[in-house]
């Protein structure tokens, strides 16, 4: 039997990493991830894991060390946040291009300037095209569960791609919640032995890694990456089924909340989805058919399934905790693409909220849902992209 505990998101993910017991962990501290890796390095110092802990001088080095360890044939993990992820940017593409299944929890934080350490999604959204798989987590339980499932997806022999597990900085990483831990043995068996693919330390079969590839072959390797990504969806679902067997907790590509007969809906990632579900309930009590979709797998993005889940709604607002200045925000763009192929489709608006840790309150969800109801009634849209919770 597992254990029920009261822990922060960082503590839950650090515990999942302890249970996974990776071969190598290279990390550099950055708020709000610091506490996660501090806890994990304590596990290493206390002999609770067999992990070789490498303390490096930057995030660029942290991921580079993981790449070396992974190419050598080990299971490698790191974790970062905000500007740390930004500093890794170059190396993110090396990890995915070399097809190394590195696991990296990302404690979502805003990007400077102005300097800000709080939760928003600008970091991971900036890395969305880096070839990493991205799982997003509403709360500490989901962050723990996603971390346990991550390697079974990343290390699948048809995939071999690095994976990020995202959770909101401070709101989840530093708040104490009720979390159900699985037993150490159960996690160990679930994750299984690491099987390297073409490891450098297999010295009987010498090989070269990371070569220069010229225009006559580069594009073929990129096409292969897309192919591997296109297989992720099925493996995510297969892994979720196996995970349900050991935990009783069911996961999909996204969570659909009261969406089946919904007329108005909100699409939103991570912790703010919890707040929004409460407001959806209160609207349902008033007789308004409201619903919510919370993506879990953001890369690769499951366009068909999301489109099918949303196509019959009348109006939808996509709430983004990251912006693309002078453009629609990242999540909105994906939802719009999901719905494009349908002849009749919902009216789709975009609101940016919660940047730099700005509180997202139930009132904000109410304003959005009321606006959607109004749009359905009048068929008129004032602004396709707007901001909520910002002072004029």
């Amino acid at each position: 039997m597992g254990k029920i505990v009261a822990v922060t998101g960082n503590e839950a993910v650090a515990n999942a990493l302890r249970q996974i017991n990776p071969d190598v962990c290279a990390a550099y501290p950055i708020t709000p991830q610091t506490d996660l890796m501090q806890r994990f390095s304590s596990f290493a110092s206390d002999g609770l894991v067999d992990t070789e802990m490498i303390l490096v001088e930057s995030e660029h080095s942290a991921l580079s060390a993981c790449i070396g360890a992974s190419a050598a044939g080990g299971r490698a993990v790191t974790a970062t946040a905000g500007p740390g992820l930004a500093l890794m940017w170059e190396v993110l593409f090396v990890a995915s291009g070399m097809r190394l299944p590195i696991l990296m929890p990302v404690v979502n934080r805003s990007l400077s300037a102005p300097l800000n350490i709080h939760g928003d999604h600008s970091d991971a959204m900036g890395a969305r095209d880096s070839g990493w798989i991205q799982l997003w987590s509403e709360n500490a339980q989901e962050a723990y569960d996603n971390t346990v499932q991550a390697l079974n997806i990343a290390e699948d022999m048809d995939i071999r791609l690095p994976i990020m597990v995202c959770m909101d900085g401070f709101i989840i990483s530093h708040s104490i919640e009720r979390v159900e831990y699985l037993d150490d043995d159960v996690v160990k068996n679930f994750v299984g032995e690491y099987k390297p693919l073409n490891p450098l330390l297999d010295i009987k079969h010498p090989k070269s890694i990371g070569p220069l590839i010229l225009p006559d072959a580069y594009m073929e390797y990129k096409r292969m990456q897309h192919e591997a990504m296109s297989k992720v969806k099925d493996i995510v679902l297969k892994t979720a089924d196996a995970f349900a067997q050991i935990s009783g907790r069911k996961y999909g590509l996204f969570e659909a909340y009261r969406l089946d007969d919904a007329e108005v809906g909100i699409v939103i990632l991570n912790s703010a989805a919890g707040t929004t579900k409460d407001v959806v309930d209160s609207f349902r009590e008033k007789g308004i058919k409201a619903g919510l979709l919370k993506p879990r797998l953001f890369r690769p993005f499951p366009y068909e399934e999301v489109g099918e889940a949303l196509k019959d709604l009348k109006a939808i607002c996509v709430l983004d905790r990251a912006d693309s200045f002078g453009a629609f925000a990242p999540l909105y763009v994906e939802i719009a693409a999901s719905l494009y192929t349908y002849k009749t489709k919902p009216i789709l608006i975009n609101k940016v909220y919660g940047l730099g840790g700005r509180d997202y309150m139930p009132e904000h969800a109410e304003i959005v849902l009321n606006e959607l109801v109004e749009i359905v009634k009048t068929g008129k849209v004032k602004n396709y992209k707007d901001y909520i919770g910002v002072r004029e």
Partner: protein
């Protein structure tokens, strides 16, 4: 040579065949070509030592002719060659003449 399609390639561009760089004939880059003048050669092997590739062939500690498959025509061997009594054993010539 038929180039491989993406379905036939190794994930991550890992090269599984050791020493495969020998398949890449870099000599085709050459614009200037070194010529070995055997009678001026004192077998000092400076050319072999200085060659940034492996384009100077040596057998039983004796210099043989250039391996033009890999010589890029950089001219370092001709520059370093002490020759015999002031007469160079390696001179550079324009390629294709």
């Amino acid at each position: 040579m038929k180039l491989k399609g993406w379905k036939e390639m190794t994930p991550g561009a890992t090269i599984l065949e050791p020493g495969s760089s020998a398949n890449f004939k870099t000599g085709s880059w050459r614009a200037a070509k070194p010529r070995w003048i055997k009678e001026n050669c004192i077998q000092c092997l400076f050319c072999w030592l200085y060659c940034p590739d492996m384009a100077v062939k040596v057998k039983d500690s004796k210099r043989e002719d250039f391996d033009y498959d890999y010589c890029k025509g950089c001219g370092i061997c001709a520059l370093e060659c002490p020759g015999k009594k002031g007469n160079k054993a390696i001179i550079m010539e324009e390629e294709g003449k």
